[in-house]
Symmetry: C2
Subunit: 333 residues, 2 copies
């Protein structure tokens, strides 16, 4: 196995976030599930956009946010995801490259426009997401850069990739290339409703050792095992995967390994402004620690630190240098 060129390469849906504040009543009137991510078609995208308040646009996408977080922490990172060559797609490419990420996926020339997620942020800071996949629908195995994947210490995949029609093939191709090159494969379960759509396939990915590490929050874990018994779900998880990281919002996280479980506290925050990207940035911190060979506790602390930064402002990408923050907190050299 040769030395890795990238610490982490992420594959995910390339999505521009369209973020607006909204009251709880708006979610009710629109039939949205608070805190969740719903897939929507173009007509519904127009209807939601027409009804929602003034917005800002910022590059997003779950795995992409994680990869940008890794770059902010000083890790070498790359991303594969599908945009269209339109104004939003060009902004997307700009933002991810300007963050220091290698991004070379060929944009679509025709077909649907760059994907968007209409994010409604309620006064409590919770985000409710409505995703129009757009061009992300067209990620296919041909977009997988085998050489870059074989040269990455970890390949990080999002569960949301199970939604577009050809992306799961791209996902499986990438996982095989990574394992053939002796690399690790990590997966985030993404969202409880995503788990509900693809439960059997996600369990199969874990049990077949197609993935080596998973990230899940409590709702995703309960959805995966269709159980409200947390301890039972954790026990099931240990049997199904080598390492799992279970995030629990303000309660911190559990790093669940074959031999023990490490509980790591959250970082205190002054005020939660917008939780968009909390899980994504947690994964960034954790994977950064992993790439540096840190212990479970340090990996968890790095995750907590990155998540704490992103929930204190609007948008799912870091505004401060996470590397500087991590150094100030004694978590990176």
């Amino acid at each position: 196995m040769s030395a890795a060129r990238y610490d982490v390469l992420g594959i995910g849906n390339a999505i521009v976030d369209v973020i607006a504040r909204a009251e709880e009543d708006f979610l009710l009137a629109q039939g949205m599930r608070k805190g969740g991510m719903m897939l929507i078609d173009e007509a519904r995208a127009h209807a939601i956009y027409d009804a929602m308040g003034p917005a800002i646009e910022t590059s997003g996408g779950s795995a992409a946010n994680t990869i940008v977080g890794l770059a902010s922490l000083g890790a070498r990172s790359a991303f594969i995801g599908k945009i269209k060559d339109d104004l939003l797609g060009r902004a997307y490419s700009h933002d991810i490259r300007a963050a220091g990420v290698n991004f070379a996926t060929k944009p679509a020339i025709d077909g649907p426009s760059t994907g968007r997620c209409y994010v409604l942020v309620t006064p409590d800071g919770e985000r409710t997401m409505n995703t129009y996949l757009g061009a992300a629908q067209d990620l296919h195995p041909g977009d997988i850069d085998a050489e870059a994947i074989a040269a990455s210490a970890v390949v990080y995949l999002e569960g949301y990739l199970w939604d577009p029609k050809n992306a799961k093939e791209a996902f499986l191709k990438a996982a095989k290339i990574a394992h053939d090159a002796g690399r690790k494969v990590a997966l985030t379960l993404s969202d409880a409703f995503c788990v509900d759509r693809w439960r059997d396939e996600f369990l199969q990915l874990m049990r077949s050792r197609t993935v080596d590490l998973i990230f899940a929050n409590e709702a995703e874990l309960h959805s995966l095992y269709q159980s409200s018994d947390f301890d039972a779900a954790i026990a099931a998880l240990r049997a199904d995967i080598e390492v799992a990281v279970v995030t629990r919002s303000e309660k911190g996280c559990l790093v669940v390994g074959p031999d023990d479980i490490e509980a790591v506290p959250a970082f205190p925050v002054d005020r939660v402004v917008d939780t968009t990207g909390a899980g994504d940035l947690f994964a960034a911190g954790f994977l950064c620690g992993l790439a540096r060979g840190a212990d479970d506790r340090t990996c968890g602390r790095l995750g907590a630190l990155a998540a704490a930064e992103v929930i204190q402002h609007i948008g799912a990408r870091p505004e401060a240098s996470l590397k500087d923050l991590a150094r100030e907190n004694g978590l990176l050299d």
Copy 2:
């Protein structure tokens, strides 16, 4: 004169802000004048964008920001400005309409894309702007809705309209319609370098009574009279216009009328995050007071309050309800 349908109708360049944080060194390396607004062509726009960091996109444009601020204060408002029918243009229309503003200018079907301003925010919160006018270049007299203008108590125009080739004709047409209908015409001088480009024409607008009220900051005032003597510039101003409002950042503002000068303090702020829109929102508050027949001091306080809100977050449009803020401060019923 019939009752007004709108308190204020604004005419300005419709521009999407592309906002990124930058260090002072970046401004130096790019030859930018800190705190100013430079007009750039498409090639320069690409060069700046390639060099700058990850950005967020948010609707902007000086007069448009003012009009959105007025809507947030509960005033009835309308805007005329030129976008293209592209992804950014559609976001622009969405945002201004979702804020409660009447916006009916026909978008361009071909020609340059929707205008952009590349805004670099330095650690001190100061913003440096680089504007690619794009579709805003094509605002022409045919875009002026005579009926809407005649039905607006105040028509508010930005000095920046002197830059696009046909917009000054549109400006003059609007001012004539307004005066013929017995309405007031207000102008912001926009930027010291804009004043430098159009000094004689701006003075002519004032002296010919084409405008009744102007907004200027200290730099614009000094540029207008090519004088560093503040008191002399104020004396010259009194001779040239009925009412002028001179903003002085943290020193508050002066309302300069024919008979007296009222000094109004600024609102204290915890932390200046991004000064983009400070002058625009000051004008919003002031014009809101004017529309309600408030005294100079209350108008100035409303301006200071709106400016204070917008400089405490990224972007040039209010995030909180200015009406609620004004009520909490006893400035609106």
